[in-house]
């Protein structure tokens, strides 16, 4: 047995990570191909792959994937553009925090999915509505977490900056923002993951394209293979975006890794 907190080597880390995927698929294959679970409820891995291939080659599923990615990224970028500056202001200036924090704390508990019917009324079933669901789901979370991170900036660094001649605005731009930048990047990575759940919910209702739309269509046909393929695609995209974010953070904030 390894000892507590003892690090694991790079090679065995990768091997272990892959091993669980293998175990997962194996259990799934035994359950379905072995006849323990009815095909009506759960497709086996081979059917899933075949269904996925059909989706991609004959039903233009790649377009649905692109649409969904566009919606997530679009809504998320809009939310980040609004929320990051507001969060920084809240963290830096306590009156702004006192003014906005109670409302934002309230608003972030409003489930984005509950807004879907209302947003359909307001914005129809077009792209605006999809973007709005993701925007509402992300914006308050980002604001609050960024505000906390900026508010936790080390006071001694702020004091050092003042004794080096910084004014209030310089302290914000040269100390508060750079010191919390890695945290902000990490917050964005986290919230992007949540945005993926909102987009699927938005696509389940009143949509004619996207991964969520495909999943709900497949339900009508009892095509569990297609549904599972759709879910796995979402997982894979999440994995890729996570990887890109981490690589980006490593490149942007080398001082954190040193």
């Amino acid at each position: 047995m390894p000892r507590p907190l003892e690090p694991v080597g790079r090679a065995s880390r990768i091997a272990l990570g892959i091993a669980f995927f293998v175990v997962f698929v194996a259990v799934w294959a035994v359950a379905t191909l072995g006849g323990f679970v009815s095909k009506t409820f759960l497709a086996d891995p081979l059917t899933m792959v075949a269904d996925g291939w059909t989706l991609l080659t004959r039903f233009g599923f790649a377009y649905d994937i692109a649409v969904t990615v566009w919606r997530v990224v679009g809504g998320f970028v809009l939310a980040a553009l609004v929320a990051v500056p507001v969060g920084i202001l809240m963290g830096a200036y306590k009156p702004v925090e006192a003014f906005l924090e109670p409302f934002v704390s309230f608003a972030r508990y409003l489930p984005a999915s509950a807004f879907v019917p209302l947003l359909i009324l307001w914005a129809g079933i077009g792209e605006t509505q999809k973007l709005l669901v993701i925007f509402i789901g992300s914006v308050f979370q980002i604001v609050l977490m960024v505000a906390v991170s900026v508010g936790q900036t080390r006071r001694d660094l702020v004091e050092a900056a003042y004794t080096l001649g910084c004014g209030d605005r310089s302290v914000v731009s040269r100390v508060l923002i750079p010191s919390s930048a890695p945290d902000i990047a990490e917050i964005l990575r986290l919230v992007l993951g949540w945005a993926w759940t909102y987009v699927i919910v938005a696509e389940l209702i009143g949509s004619s394209s996207g991964i969520g739309h495909m999943i709900i269509d497949s339900q009508a046909l009892l095509a569990t293979g297609q549904m599972i393929f759709g879910i796995i695609v979402i997982g894979l995209i999440g994995l890729i975006s996570d990887f890109l974010f981490k690589a980006g953070n490593r490149a942007l904030f080398p001082w954190r890794m040193a």
């Binding site: 050092a160 004794t163 040269r174 001082w255 040193a258």
Partner: protein, 261 residues
Amino acid sequence: MTKLVIDGVSRVFPAVHGGAPTRALEPTNLTVAANDFIAILGPSGCGKSTLLRIVAGLDRPTAGRVLLDRREVKGPGADRGMVFQSYTLFPWLSVAQNIAFGLRERGVPAAKQQAIVADFINRVGLKGFEKHWPKQLSGGMQQRTAIARALANNPEIMLLDEPFGALDTQTRALMQELLLGIWERDRKTVLFVTHDIEEAIFVASRVIVMTARPGRIKADVAIDLPHPRHYTLKTTPEFSALKARLTEEIRAEVVQAAGEH
């Protein structure tokens, strides 16, 4: 020439949870001549750091005022460079960028910034470490960078708040020599807070002894040891005599402070 005047400065911290307000610093007067190196010596909790923070403008006095070059201190500014006990280098900036921090703030041209940074890198012996992140440096190297960062700004006065407090004894001795060497060359006015008697005598030309809480000045001792000072000075009879005297002054305070708790 008078550089700094501390005029009746006191500090009372407001009461917490119905307790009595804390009188951290009794009304204190101190006049610092230009080019003087003053050590403020006292047991922990004697308000010496509070006094320094008030001079820096990071804390407000309850009463009294601080005058630097006859102008009243209203807040922190680049004319008073500070080195803290905690490591306060900006972790996202390299050693060179840290030293240039204040210069960039003032909009000094890049070429001139580089020249000044290179000069101070040499003076604190950090050649070859310009591009390192603070995290990659030892405690002593971080404090050397912090001293260079404050000096590069060319302040009127240097405020050092137990800058070597977190370092091991050997590193500490080397840092004292380094600091003294820099001072002997520039003779910049220095206010140096410490609880280490030997350190105070070795670096300063005047030692102010403070009492235990509430803090006030108890003794003002001139250190007439010749410059340049060498580390062997610490074993001379003159040094020992001063050390014995200051030890007595401080001991009474420590005993009293310990009895309070």
